[in-house]
Subunit: 208 residues, 4 copies
């Protein structure tokens, strides 16, 4: 969409507090418009209007429309990754249980995002897609999950198997999560899916 890959970083940091709030307001407004009108009708004047400010002001906080979508994605993604790490780091729980909690968290999260943003959540994901920061995060995720699998598996597992197993885990949870999100299922059904998917993965990769 952008020709010259312009900046995606938010623009300013005026009197800090007020500015932060304004940025959040704009992101929320953007999500509202996204839900209401879909990504094809997501325009900066509409976002500004929804945020109760002028277009000009909007452009004081974000350099372009892409940057807003990007910021929404970052906000969502980074918060989620922190929580997933928290679960992975909880050695008090069995590996299988941790897997279930992650699947659960992820399925709910994706579903909530979609509930909040409509299918536009996927639009955004998709939009941000191949961006560099996202790639980097993906790498981090891969690394952390590999460690999780290695530490959880009985000793003798071959390194290649561990690698594949951890990619399988991430790929399946992510793929299923997105798929479920589109269906807008209730919480208890999502829990069931999480239990099933986690068990399936655990059995397959041989978690004790």
């Amino acid at each position: 969409m952008s020709k010259n890959k312009p900046t995606l970083a938010p623009r300013k940091r005026p009197k800090q507090a007020r500015s932060q709030q304004m940025q959040q307001d704009i992101l929320d407004a953007c999500i509202r418009v996204l839900r209401r009108d879909g990504i094809a009708r997501l325009t900066t004047p509409r976002i500004a209007e929804a945020a109760g400010i002028s277009v000009g002001s909007l452009y004081q906080y974000f350099p372009n429309k892409e940057a807003i979508l990007y910021a929404i994605h970052s906000r969502t993604t980074e918060i989620a990754w922190i929580e997933v790490q928290r679960i992975l780091d909880d050695r008090g729980l069995e590996a299988r249980e941790r897997l279930r909690l992650i699947a659960r968290f992820y399925f709910h999260g994706e579903t909530e995002d979609v509930a909040r943003m409509g299918p536009a959540a996927l639009d955004i994901d998709h939009f941000v897609g191949q961006d560099a920061r996202h790639q980097e995060l993906a790498q981090q995720v891969a690394t952390r999950f590999t460690r999780f699998v290695r530490e959880s598996l009985p000793r003798k597992a071959r390194s290649g198997d561990v690698e594949f197993a951890s990619r399988l885990v991430v790929t399946v949870i992510d793929g299923v999560g997105r798929n479920l999100a589109q269906q807008g299922l209730p919480a208890d059904v999502l829990d069931e899916w999480a239990r099933a998917v986690a068990k399936m993965l655990a059995d397959f990769i041989g978690l004790p």
Copy 2:
């Protein structure tokens, strides 16, 4: 993009081979433009030019831009579904083998689509999204897979379990397929994924 949800069906009931051919040419041209320029630069004049016709002519074959994307999706999807049905119907093969072949076909197919259309394949999927015909097909797929699972499972399986198992199969294969497509993996690696995913599913749902 379209305000009043206008028709998405191709305009002419193509009784003549010439017209059929033209439609196909336009779809191919669209895919070419999509790859070359990305979805944001996919414009009807460009598609027409790539197809070697005038915009005016293009609009004789499709009522609007969406219809073209929609047609591409249908073409791909329907061909794929036919092949998947062929595999499911092949009673000469064991259920596990059929599952593997389907996963394999789907992973390759999605990957090829992406190879042909670039990440735009996902754009299209996504674009077509919640459309009615797509829903209908999804229903068909669900039904057919449910039958497959029921017939393949040892007698006593409960109906609810069968239903869930078949949805799991479809969801996992689809989710993983899309995820892999983005990575552009080579054929042999895709085969491995297919084998692993199929085995994992078969074990979990208890295929003999």
Copy 3:
């Protein structure tokens, strides 16, 4: 003024005849707006309106506003240079007479352009400024005038002197021409200026 140095060439060449005419109409409309509103109020919608077409159409003929100004400048400049060369090539006339005719043509020409465009002619000149094609033309002019001076001067003139003399001629005629253009003088006064400036230059550089 332009960030990414976009193309300045006119855009298309549709059915040739009609297109050519349209391009000319746009240039004329641009000149009219320039006169009426000044360069600061020269906008593409205004030009389009003055040309009796839509903005969209305007952009089918020129890729951006700059291109229009550039085209006006080229049109004016190139026609003028052809006429000046015609005069320089006319060996039937004495060198002094040729100089006078050139000054006269230039003073009038600049003035006519200015009459047509108002001081906007200078706006454009200035705008186009350091563009490459313009530089090239300037070089051509320099070379041709140097030859004229060398051929017209009595034998023994040193090469350096010839060079300086020809640059003086060009610089003075150009400088005075622009200056007079701003004043909007009547034809007979311009003739007088041409006579005076040509004589002054001829005397100074020693034309016979």
Copy 4:
């Protein structure tokens, strides 16, 4: 740029040295921005930032953007005019010598302006263009040069001739000066040009 020809005079009658200084700082900042970003990117916020003040403050010193450009022009112009008058008034020098010094001063000055401000110097000149105060100054210049020529010429010169001669002098020096400025020539070359142009004019109008 301005719709209703608003005031161009600086806002405060700067009674305090501090205010005077601030105005100068703003003008200098404006020149810096002009050089760095070009006239198309010359914005009031940018000027304010370069001057280390807020936009609001800037508008306490100048009523609008034009006024700043205008002030720069005036400052330059008026200082130059004072120096030129000083030279004209120096009866200790021969007329020819005074002419040479003026050409020299002017050529250097214009060239330096362009060196300081980039081609934007011409932008400004041009921008200020037809403004009233500038016209007035032009009149003053004309009058003073006419006196100079009359006093320097042998008695019997006709009044019309004197008038024309003095306009020729001014026009040629100004025209050539601007032309040379664009070429960014070194000081010694400019001196040569001054000598040549002054001699040419002096010879032509018949200075002793």
